[in-house]
């Protein structure tokens, strides 16, 4: 399969790549005029089944964009039936006017989809601090509605791109013990949109029949292993939004604690993990993807150490340069765990042990130098103790990152 490209994601055997949305969903992506270059910038997903259920997750930033605030305050997040997402403007730091604009988009979407406003989620990504051209957007909605199709996921995925170098989406046929269901997702996340910042959006659809609690549980568990474990530059966006919708039109029920739940969860896990890795691989100017695995005796310690390594500009620059610079890994771990010196840390890079118990280990330097030239580089850090383990995926720090974020500004 071509979608599951990373060695860090196991494509489940009961999953097969297909095309198009699951039953009960239609989507569209059009150009409504927000992006000055005329590219697609308005996407709509509609679930036609009245008893569609949903779950959602948002950025935890203290500075939240208006659409995120609106979703949290005015939506029934367990029963969403439509999503409107725009690129080209984040509708963030726009105050009360931004909230009114988001509400206007919500209302207009409700009208074209024939659902109540509380069942419409809105999402935005793009420039911050600039009023959303809400009239432009709302004028574009009927055109989008006219193009809603069962295979509209490709256009929808195009419409939510900002500086993403490539489209991020997949549709999977998932064989459950009780029968086949379909699972699809469209995501964006990569880079910068001058002069704003990166945003992660992901919309997932399935025709399996779930309770809202099951949808919430599945989204929670799989987000924790995917979008919660990646970093491009350690910067949380104001607009991050992930929505899972389940139409139930396949008639295949996924009951709590059932084999169906397990099998669907495995498929969703692989799908979201690979999408998350695509975001890292498409991180601004990224050449390589790193994975740091940290084990030890304390949950908080392994988490802090993994985040410190993944967000270290020194580790990231070394990853970019193809330099197996384990001293920077050691220093990041030490920074994350102040007051613990001397820390008997173990470090291996691509399976080559370079540091044992805090001390440099003789190793094949030439072999290691060759091993870090690939697209994916793995760092394994051992802290004292056992029982806790975590991982973070991260992109490298490149000239292109600086160019994108320093030079291509308006």
């Amino acid at each position: 399969m071509s979608f599951f490209a990373s060695r860090w994601v196991q494509a489940p055997e009961h999953v097969q790549e297909v095309a198009g949305l699951p039953g009960g969903f239609r989507a569209a992506g059009v150009a409504c005029g927000i992006k000055p270059d005329g590219a697609r910038d308005l996407g709509v997903v509609v679930a036609d089944a009245p008893d569609t259920v949903s779950a959602a997750r948002f950025s935890r930033s203290g500075v939240l964009a208006a659409p995120v605030l609106l979703c949290q305050e005015r939506c029934d997040l367990r029963a969403l039936r439509a999503v409107t997402a725009n690129s080209g403007n984040a509708n963030a730091a726009t105050g009360g006017g931004g909230l009114s604009a988001a509400a206007k988009v919500q209302g207009a979407t409700a009208a074209i989809a024939g659902v109540s406003e509380s069942r419409v989620a809105v999402a935005s990504t793009g420039v911050i601090g600039v009023p959303l051209p809400v009239d432009t957007l709302v004028r574009g909605l009927p055109g989008a509605a006219a193009q809603l199709r069962a295979d509209g996921d490709a256009d929808f995925a195009e419409a939510i791109r900002t500086t993403d170098a490539f489209c991020k989406r997949a549709s999977l046929e998932v064989r459950l013990p009780g029968g086949d269901v379909r699972l699809s997702a469209q995501a964006k996340g990569a880079g910068m949109l001058s002069p704003a910042f990166a945003t992660l959006l992901c919309f997932v659809q399935t025709d399996a029949a779930l309770e809202p609690q099951t949808a919430d549980l599945l989204l929670d568990a799989t987000a924790a292993r995917s979008f919660e474990r990646i970093t491009v530059d350690g910067q949380l966006s104001t607009n991050d939004t992930v929505v899972l919708m389940a139409s139930g039109v396949s008639g295949i029920r996924v009951a709590p604690d059932s084999e169906e739940e397990l099998a669907l969860g495995e498929a969703l896990d692989a799908l979201m993990r690979q999408l998350a890795l695509l975001m890292v691989a498409d991180g601004e100017g990224a050449r390589r993807v790193g994975r740091v695995v940290v084990t030890g005796g304390h949950e908080l310690h392994v988490e802090a150490a993994a985040r410190a390594v993944a967000n270290s500009p020194l580790v990231k620059a070394a990853l970019h340069g193809g330099d197996p610079n384990w001293g920077r890994v050691a220093s990041s771990v030490g920074m994350a765990l102040p007051g613990t010196a001397p820390l008997p840390v173990d470090i291996a890079i691509e399976g080559v042990q370079v540091c044992s118990q805090g001390r440099a280990t003789p190793h094949d330097a030439d072999g290691l130098a060759r091993a870090v030239q690939g697209d994916e580089v793995e760092y394994v850090v051992g802290l004292p103790g056992e029982g806790a383990a975590t991982e973070v995926f991260f992109s490298d720090l490149s000239h292109e990152y600086v160019a994108i974020n320093a030079e291509y500004t308006t």
Copy 2:
């Protein structure tokens, strides 16, 4: 005065730039052969007065270099009389052998300085994970001892440089109510030493007569306003070391809570603050220095927000590009304060209000764009509440930073 170049440091009126070390100190810097290019790499400072007092501060990293561990475990840090510092090798992640090597340097320095081992501090900066060439270093010590001079501070400051683009030192005559004293300091800190990481070293001398407690208090208060408030890339070194020594040979006593203490403290504060700013200005590839000031009602909130802005690669890249990108400042603040949305944050850049109560403020965009082209750019962030305030100085993120840390590796 030329040393106090930043608009953020007020040169005290009772301070005058001079040359050479305070009475009671001699220093030297020589090339002993650690650096392959034959540059100076071994520095020694000796205090000849038996009752010299001192204070010291070190990195809090969980991964500490051998010289730092040795100083903490085997030195009388209140009565140091000599410092040996080398560049070209950090003696970090070197295990028990590294500790033995540091002890050997300590012992050899004690012999040439004629003081007990516990009164000798050692410091290192350079490549990590490589055994210190201790025999090379020890063989160079007699040559350094032969060159110890009252004006040896320039050579000493040269000897502790790694990739520092310029030397960082000053000598000041300080007029105290009770008479004049001298205050000098030599520091390093900038960049990377391939394939290791940045380190901050600073050695301060005065001929004022202090109690050890006063030295400790002055160092604590002034470090908190200087080296604790800067960041190049948010990466804590394994080797950071700051040592203050007071010989007392001026005969001018600085008693606790005296006017002398206040005046000397002001001079030390300006000296260390300017040195800290020189480190930021010399941060890898830096073009500009940023200062973020955050006010609000909670100490922890203003600190978290200031650190988040100062360490944001997006803010730093915008600073580099001369882009007044306040959306990135807002997003950094939001990330630092999760769960507080909607946060009524105020943001001003170079005195121009760009965001009020979380909402974009109409402003002169062209004037602001011109204002951020200078060498120093100030960001002021207002959080809700009053009573807490902090500042962090930071360098920009440049192509040169990536080049230094990704490409110039061995």
